[in-house]
Symmetry: C2
Subunit: 357 residues, 2 copies
């Protein structure tokens, strides 16, 4: 572990270039890019195809000497370097991360914000120390309500920081991750260490972690109260964005693709926060005839499941395909997602237009 990290900051430069080459750029400064949809056909997204969401320029933190502090309502404040964390105990979690704004361009009226289409979504194997281990060492005071995790990106009141309820912060799968897909984290993904909050939209998985604070009062920072909230513009107090809503995506045939008549195999993925997906159904031509797809692996919490559907006897002409997922709690994708001012959490059923013949 130390040996791998010891390749140092030149290796980070190399990784930095690699992580940009295969992506679909949305914004260049700061760099934001979607995963190419074809990369999502893998059970795990290759690191160089994993989507990138950054609110600010990527901090270049020194791999060996960067420290994080653990402070606030704790008995034993800590300072930790990468090598301290690397001692473990280490845990591995496969988790899908979706940007809360994924699908924003399909919302109407179009909300402001980065124009994410479908690819602000990826899955990786994360390896790191459970946040609960670190908090355990620091010994939380009994009146702790939330755990604030602050990144090294942004400044002053706009520094990127998010708080988690203690229950989620203490979940054994919530990690201070050091590795992604078996390699040190690249800079774009939060090197040298980032939070991974499985099942929650990406904003919770704070990158470039710098400071952890145990809070006895709810956090009210910019990224907690002004962004990543469901603001329905109806006079009610906005709700915070938390877990990923149940959703599915058709990967092939791709949008507007031309396929031969007859039997067409439709492939896709489906996910639902910390919950297992239990069913995916497909409808052809906008009707209400939903037929079950086959799940290609045993569904796990917090990671997408791949599915396939055999469309028998596709006739020449244009057709619409729709997929909808249902999770173990019985939640099903809606036909239309509730509009909100900042365009988060769009999990509506999508229509895929395909040309046969």
């Amino acid at each position: 572990m130390e040996g791998e990290q010891g390749t140092g900051d030149e290796a980070q430069e190399e990784l930095h270039k690699e992580t940009r080459a295969k992506l679909v750029p949305v914004k260049l400064e700061p760099f934001n890019a979607e995963a190419p949809l074809e990369a999502l056909t893998h059970p795990r997204t290759p690191t160089d195809s994993f989507f990138v969401r950054s609110n600010y320029a990527e901090p270049e933190l020194p791999t060996a000497t960067h420290r994080i502090t653990v402070e606030g309502a704790v008995e034993a404040p800590l300072t930790l370097r990468l090598k301290d964390l690397a001692r473990g105990p280490l845990r591995e979690v496969t988790a899908t991360v979706e940007c809360a704004g994924n699908g924003r361009t399909a919302m109407s009226p179009l909300p402001e914000g980065e124009p994410w289409d479908k690819g602000a979504l990826s899955t990786a194997v994360w390896r790191g120390v459970p946040l609960a281990e670190v908090l355990g060492r620091a010994r939380l005071r009994p009146n702790v309500l939330e755990i604030l995790v602050e990144g090294a990106d942004g400044e002053g009141s706009k520094r990127f920081a998010r708080a988690l309820p203690v229950s989620k912060a203490m979940h054994p799968d919530t990690l201070l991750a050091l590795e992604m897909n078996g390699e040190p984290l690249p800079r774009a993904h939060g090197a040298p260490m980032r939070l991974i909050v499985p099942g929650w939209y990406g904003m919770a998985s704070v990158k470039w972690v710098k400071r952890i604070e145990a809070l006895t009062r709810p956090f009210s920072g910019y990224y907690q109260r002004e962004r990543y909230i469901y603001d329905l513009s109806n006079g009610r107090a906005p709700e915070p964005v938390t877990r990923m809503r149940v959703k599915s995506l058709i990967l092939t045939p791709s949008e507007g693709a031309r396929v031969a008549p007859g039997r067409v195999v439709v492939h896709g993925i489906a996910w639902s926060g910390e919950r297992r997906v239990v069913q995916v159904e497909v409808a052809v031509d906008g009707g209400e005839t939903w037929k079950p797809a086959t799940l290609l692996e045993k569904p796990k919490p917090s990671a997408w499941v791949r599915w396939a559907f055999t469309w028998e006897d596709a006739k020449p002409g244009r057709h619409t395909l729709r997929a909808r997922a249902t999770d173990e709690a019985g939640e099903t994708q809606p036909e239309t997602s509730q509009w909100n001012r900042l365009g988060y959490g769009n999990n509506a059923v999508m229509a895929r237009v395909v040309n046969v013949g």
Copy 2:
């Protein structure tokens, strides 16, 4: 005129093939196809690129001997052949025809019906006899409410037939058209004669006209009461679909196009039923900053107007462009169009995703 029509049914076969080659098929039987969007950059759509909407197989009517009857509440019932109509007086009208279901695939929940995207829309120069001339010869009784126009397509109670209020039927621009863009009508577009109702959605412009009947009571046929209605599924009686709603379309850059940074010229079209479009505005990146586009010709009623907008200083990355049109009555495109069960009249502002750099 007679000479042109006299080329006969072999010529129709040739035209038949031509009208299918350049289109974007939506359904093969009966043949339904969109205009390729690049063809919409012309002030008038070339006939071989004009969208085709048919509810049934195209009737093959004999050019020289086909007759239409004019009957019902008239003093002098008539039978007319093409050569009778060709004597005139003939009138020429440039009219945009949009299918009422155009844009259906962008509605959510996805309504049933043909999956029309953006190209069920075209403009042609139509030449024919004003319907008012024919009705004048037949002498309408004073208690006539509606003029029923029946096509030769479909059978029994599902024969394609639509009724117009007398006021619209008698409008001098409502034509029994014999020619399209200076040539005899091709079969796909209603040969040997079709109705053209400028400013109304396409269902009113009945093809392969066979029978005209003056009615003293409202028509309640299938295509008048069961289809081409705005059914809001809210318990209220559906409203009939009539005039085309104010709408605009960005033609270039095309969806997902990659363009160079700097100055980008955006081109499009806008239309609004019988009304003139008076303004088109463009917004960049989902904001509420709408800037005026330039209309490229003097707007006319019933035909689209082309427009251009110069997007200054486009920066590398992904951007959204939106256009919205306003007509002389002050109607502006809505951000979201009212959903209806059959998916008609979608004139919502569309977001065009463009990649710069």
